[in-house]
């Protein structure tokens, strides 16, 4: 599945994201799509789906919470894995 589509589908488990929302800059934690209770599950689902593992540093960075930047991070990790 497309990375962005997977992220959006997960975020929409609880609430539909309005079409007017700019996904690229959407901070899904500050906007309440994932709360501190749900973040562990989100991370595990991403790691499972794309067969990657995030470092503690990546998880704690502010950019991890922004859809566009998270997508880029996943793309980079997938590319790195292919190189190996």
């Amino acid at each position: 599945m497309d990375i962005l589509e997977f992220i959006v589908k997960y975020l929409e488990k609880k609430h539909t994201i309005d079409h007017s929302v700019d996904l690229e800059t959407l901070n899904y934690v500050e906007s309440g799509y994932v709360d501190s209770l749900g973040i562990i599950q989100f991370v595990c689902e991403l790691e499972d789906e794309f067969d990657i593992e995030f470092s503690e540093q990546e998880l704690s960075s502010q950019s991890f919470q922004v859809v566009g930047q998270l997508k880029k991070l996943i793309e980079t990790k997938i590319a790195e894995k292919k190189k190996v």
Binding site: E12, K13, K14, H15, E30, S31, G32, D35, C44, D48
Partner: protein
């Protein structure tokens, strides 16, 4: 008269152009909401949904969810709202225990269920937000008549909501709430906090819990305005209170902990006239921060889903009765039962029992279990506390080992059962760990089998797949052995010292 739909339709006649609900930058007037409720009612009838049927509904905070509650009341139908992120097994257990026939859900839910093996639904499947194969689309409801259908045999005694005591993987207890329960609970809070049609009442907890359902119904029965927060973060809450001129709300203490911590004094002098904290007592510094920020009446309350609010205390009382959860509200009475079943005297600790006209109808199809919770007409809450000589109640803890995270009950046994499925795990125990934001979080201690290896990530992955979001362990520790007493019984209270 307990027929909620009758009361709502009547309230709507008085000020049809007034905003009935605001949610997520959308609002709907009473006139429009009446039309929507009538169309939903006609749509449900045309899809073979009949009096006293039960409908499962993974519920989100939205205007259409509220309209569906009112349509269900109009038709004498029961709704079984659940957390949409529950794992599939917990959803199956909840729907089975509440005997659901139909399902109303968003497209994302149907797709997610299909991905996980599907749900067996004997009746109709209705998709709220799209056209999905094998389902009826609720979007078609806008073609239905706006004339209110009347189901003659609705009396108000029908079950309106069946709410689950937990999203547990074990057998959940389905609490039956009739229209009459919902009406009486709404009226009790209207009287207690003097809510009127001029109030803008905020509901900021999920609609699949009874607190938000009550907060939404209160204004709609009075002709006030319901402000429904789609998702909670402290900043969204603060902005909503300001922008929607909220005057009254009940929040869970975990939310208020987060709101108090936000460095924002712009709430000074806002419209909020009364704030009620529920679920657990706030620390006094948090209370002070909130009062400084909000300048409004402040109350705390104690209750459970079975009995609704039982005691209430306001700020000036709480200065003299520190750590008390208050005195019984009108129509409620509290006693303390000692272990031998006798009623305790002032100062003696025991199980909190409540007699109230707000008591639920029972546990659906679990009469025996419910009857066991009743002693001399008092519902035994499973909470432990005492009364002082002035009749103020003090909460000391829980009889059952429950972790309350963000206001939601988590049963340690559910976490342990799941983690125990990992072959590397010899023993494990879930326990409560204090947290500034959520009140408590789930912590987990694990003893692994000799020669086995397992890391924290693997445990987290397993839990992420098999438990609901609120059940996820936030702290995981590995121990050589679990603390036990001389009888070999786990001493859960000691686990906190291992972190």
């Amino acid at each position: 008269m307990y027929k909620l739909a009758d009361i709502f339709y009547k309230a709507a006649e008085i000020q049809p152009d007034k905003t009935a609900i605001w949610c997520d930058n959308n609002s709907i007037t009473y006139r429009e909401l009446v039309d929507l409720v009538s169309q939903y009612s006609n749509f449900l009838l045309s899809n073979n949904i009949v009096y006293r049927d039960h409908i499962g509904i993974p519920m989100t905070n939205s205007i259409h969810s509220v309209a569906l509650i009112l349509a269900a009341a109009n038709l004498g139908v029961g709704l079984v709202p659940i957390n949409p992120t529950l794992p599939i097994d917990a959803i199956k257990a909840a729907f089975y225990s509440a005997n659901i026939k139909h399902l109303i859900a968003r497209q994302a839910f149907f797709e997610n269920c299909d991905k996980n093996g599907g749900l067996e639904i004997l009746g109709e499947k209705i998709c709220i937000d799209g056209k999905l194969e094998g389902t009826q689309s609720l979007l078609e409801a806008d073609k239905m008549s706006k004339e209110r259908p009347i189901v003659e045999h609705v009396t108000g005694d029908e079950i309106l909501i069946i709410t689950m005591t937990s999203g547990s993987t074990g057998a959940p207890k389905p609490i039956s709430l009739s229209q009459k329960n919902k009406y009486e609970r709404a009226m009790a809070h209207i009287d207690l906090y003097k809510i009127t049609q001029d109030d803008n009442v905020l509901a900021a907890t999920p609609l699949y819990h009874s607190l938000a359902e009550r907060l939404v119904l209160i204004p709609l029965l009075l002709g006030g305005t319901s402000v429904l927060l789609p998702r909670f973060t402290p900043n969204i809450w603060i902005n909503c209170v300001k922008e929607q001129s909220v005057t009254f709300t009940i929040a869970v203490s975990a939310q208020l902990n987060q709101i108090a911590a936000v460095n924002d004094n712009s709430l000074n002098g806002t419209s909020l006239r009364c704030l009620v904290s529920s679920s657990s007592l706030l620390e006094s510094h948090v209370k002070n921060q909130l009062i400084e920020k909000l300048h409004c009446d402040f109350h705390e309350m104690y209750g459970t889903s079975e009995v609704s609010t039982v005691t209430s205390i306001n700020l000036s009382e709480s200065i003299h009765k520190k750590q008390s959860v208050g005195k019984p509200i009108p129509g409620a009475d509290v006693v303390i039962f000692k272990d031998n079943g006798e009623v305790a005297t002032a100062g003696e600790i025991g199980e909190i029992g409540c007699k109230t006209r707000l008591l639920c109808e029972g546990y659906y199809k679990m009469d025996e279990v419910f009857e066991k919770s009743i002693q001399n007409n008092y519902f035994k809450t499973g909470d432990v506390g005492y009364l002082d000589e002035d009749g103020y109640l003090y909460f000391s803890g829980r009889k059952k080992e429950i972790i309350i995270t963000g206001g939601i009950n988590v049963y340690p046994q559910d976490i342990e059962k799941c983690v125990f499925e990992l072959p590397e795990v010899r023993e494990c125990a879930a326990f409560s760990y204090p947290d500034e934001k959520l009140g408590e979080i789930v912590a987990l201690a694990i003893v692994i089998n000799e020669g086995s290896e397992i890391n924290q990530r693997k445990v987290q992955r397993h839990c992420a797949k098999n438990l609901a979001d609120f059940q996820q362990p936030h702290k995981i520790i590995f121990l050589n052995e679990l603390p036990k007493n001389s009888m070999g019984k786990l001493v859960r209270a000691q686990l906190i010292h291992t972190i």
